[in-house]
């Protein structure tokens, strides 16, 4: 950590006449007059306590003796120092906008190069036809696996006891849905090759475009899983809300909407009876609904994870600051992390002379500082709220931004 001390910069001799005191930052080892690394935005104040001190100036130079650095890179403002006021401020400007444009340009060029590479690879061995031929059997296979899963659920899955009637109803409903989906896929199968070829053309716009299209295709192909998840979640949510409300009725209490609390309430006889009847029915049907909800939620989360990985890759390609990384490799002095001061002359009655050297930025800091703004499709809720939403059966929208219209 940086520690400041306003004392004489490394002068062991106190008996000499007063020299301008400097506010210098000491390294932890206690070596005076060599400043440690500052953060980019901080200012260094040189304080002179004596009125007799003349203006202090610093001379900066590139390492390896390449000559003084140009004024627009490091601007040092020096002023005559009245007593006990900051005498000089030396600030380093942050990254100028030009580097952001350069980063974006280089990223886009790399993106397009990778996309063209992908396109040429796809065209080489007529892979489009192979892909199209492989797609329909894959979709069929997925649907068949889903059917097996539903048959397993309709039996006695993992030894759990399910209500047979409800099981049959739900299972048949979902099986019919899958049947519709299979018919849809078979209907589309003659056109798939052409569609794929046209979509592949868009890869020349960049690899990120191709990856995004891949993510959308995954979305389309697993649309029935999304539908099942929504059905299961809505049913489960309804059940949970009904159960909580009826449980309050069971105990003789009611939710007071005005005061947002649970109050006691005297119900009528018929309300009590019907409420208890419904409560019993819902409680005994809960394991069945919960199991269906669990299975479909897991499937949906799997699909969301796969899509999330693709998005992450796209994000990475878009936001990596390649130009700045290249600059750091080739010309490290252009990206400054801080300055090092070294005292050159330190005599009484004469101005203080310091040598300033630039510390290059570490690579991790380069990436962190010059990163391009990504589209920000990180999930907005924490793990706790995610678990809570899963438990109560509320639908999860992984890529909905906070400002969007709520459902």
């Amino acid at each position: 950590m940086l520690r400041g001390s306003s004392r004489d910069c490394g002068s062991p001799n106190a008996g000499k006449p007063e020299v301008p005191k400097a506010y210098c930052l000491r390294a932890p080892q206690g070596v005076p007059a060599v400043a440690t690394v500052l953060h980019l935005e901080q200012a260094v104040y040189l304080r002179a306590a004596q009125a007799s001190a003349g203006p202090a100036h610093a001379r900066c130079q590139y390492p390896q003796g390449r000559g003084p650095c140009p004024a627009d890179e490091v601007r040092a403002l020096w002023a005559p120092c009245p007593p006990l006021t900051p005498a000089a401020a030396c600030t380093l400007t942050p990254a100028e906008p030009a580097s952001r444009k350069a980063n974006t340009l280089v990223s886009v060029l790399l993106d397009m190069a990778l996309g063209l590479l992908l396109l040429s690879w796809l065209h080489r061995k007529d892979r489009f036809a192979h892909l199209a031929e492989a797609l329909v059997p894959v979709a069929d296979r997925v649907a068949e696996e889903l059917q097996h899963l539903l048959q397993w659920l309709m039996g006695a899955p993992a030894g759990l006891k399910m209500n047979r009637a409800l099981d049959q109803v739900l299972g048949r409903f979902f099986l019919y849905h899958i049947h519709l989906w299979i018919s849809y896929i078979h209907l589309m199968s003659p056109f798939i090759e052409h569609i794929l070829w046209h979509l592949g053309l868009s890869a020349c716009l960049g690899l990120t475009v191709a990856l995004s299209i891949l993510s959308d295709i995954i979305s389309l192909l697993t649309f029935h899983i999304y539908c099942f998840y929504v059905y299961g979640a809505r049913l489960y949510c309804l059940k949970i809300h009904g159960l909580s409300s009826l449980w309050r009725l069971f105990r003789g209490k009611k939710w007071n909407v005005l005061r947002q609390r649970v109050d006691s309430c005297s119900y009528d006889l018929d309300q009590l009876f019907i409420g208890t009847l419904l409560f019993t029915i819902l409680i005994f049907l809960l394991p069945t609904t919960a199991l269906y909800y669990l299975v479909f939620t897991l499937l949906r989360l799997l699909v969301v994870t796969v899509q999330g990985l693709v998005h992450l890759l796209v994000d990475l390609i878009n936001s990596l600051p390649l130009y700045s990384l290249g600059l750091r490799l080739c010309r490290p002095y252009r990206l400054a992390a801080g300055v090092k001061f070294r005292v050159l002359e330190h005599e009484a009655g004469r101005p203080l002379r310091l040598l300033m050297q630039i510390n290059p930025l570490p690579f991790s800091h380069v990436v962190r500082t010059y990163r391009l703004p990504s589209c920000g499709c990180h999930p907005k809720h924490s793990w706790g709220s995610l678990c809570r939403k899963l438990f109560f059966g509320e639908l999860i929208y992984p890529w909905r931004q906070r400002g969007d219209k709520q459902d």
Binding site: K161, M162, N163, R164, A165, L249, F250, R251, G252, S266, Y267, D268, L269, D270, L272, F273, I274, G275, T276, L277, F279, T280, I281, F284, L285
Partner: protein
Amino acid sequence: MDEGLLAPQWLFGTGLASSLIGYVLFYLTDGDEGRKKSVRTRRADLKGAQVFITFTYGFSPVLKTLTESVSTDTIYALAAFMLLGHLIFFDYGANAAIASCTLSLNVAVFASVCLASRLPRSLHAFIMAMSAIQIFALWPILQKKLKACMPRSYVGVTLLFAFSALGGLPSLSAVGAIPFALLLVSISCLCPFYLIHLQLFKENFYGPWDEAEIKEGLSRFLS
């Protein structure tokens, strides 16, 4: 009904007749005063009864298959536990904090629905639910009315009820009837006798010579 000893239609008829009798008795016991004071009209009562019957009849197929996959022992244990809860939370007329007529009724209905799901046909389940509501919901209301208006007949009615329950038990299990009879006798007769007997040994007597204790707030003097 499970063992075929009781025909469901006979039970339904008896239940209907007894509820009609109870209804008439309810309004007869305090003459016209009760009808003028109560908010509910006859029409509302009829509507309530209609709602019960419709709902129960509609849900009886669902009720029948509700607990198919749960084992019989679990159901019996659950029903016994719930009926015990019904006995604990019932409002016996004393000022106890634990008494809650809502909870006792709900728990009793829960138990009866659990048991009704074990019956062979949906008609049986429907009739079981109707009997449950007659016994647990309508009968206590009539009982309270009788106790308030004709305390002497209340003793007779209670005894009649206890003996009919005792008489119905040996058909299910003769071994269980004997402990039940003993329990009934001990709670009704032995325990009060013992309590009164123990009064002789009481040492703390409260009388007018004790210090005054303010039990209520002063709000009734201030209002």
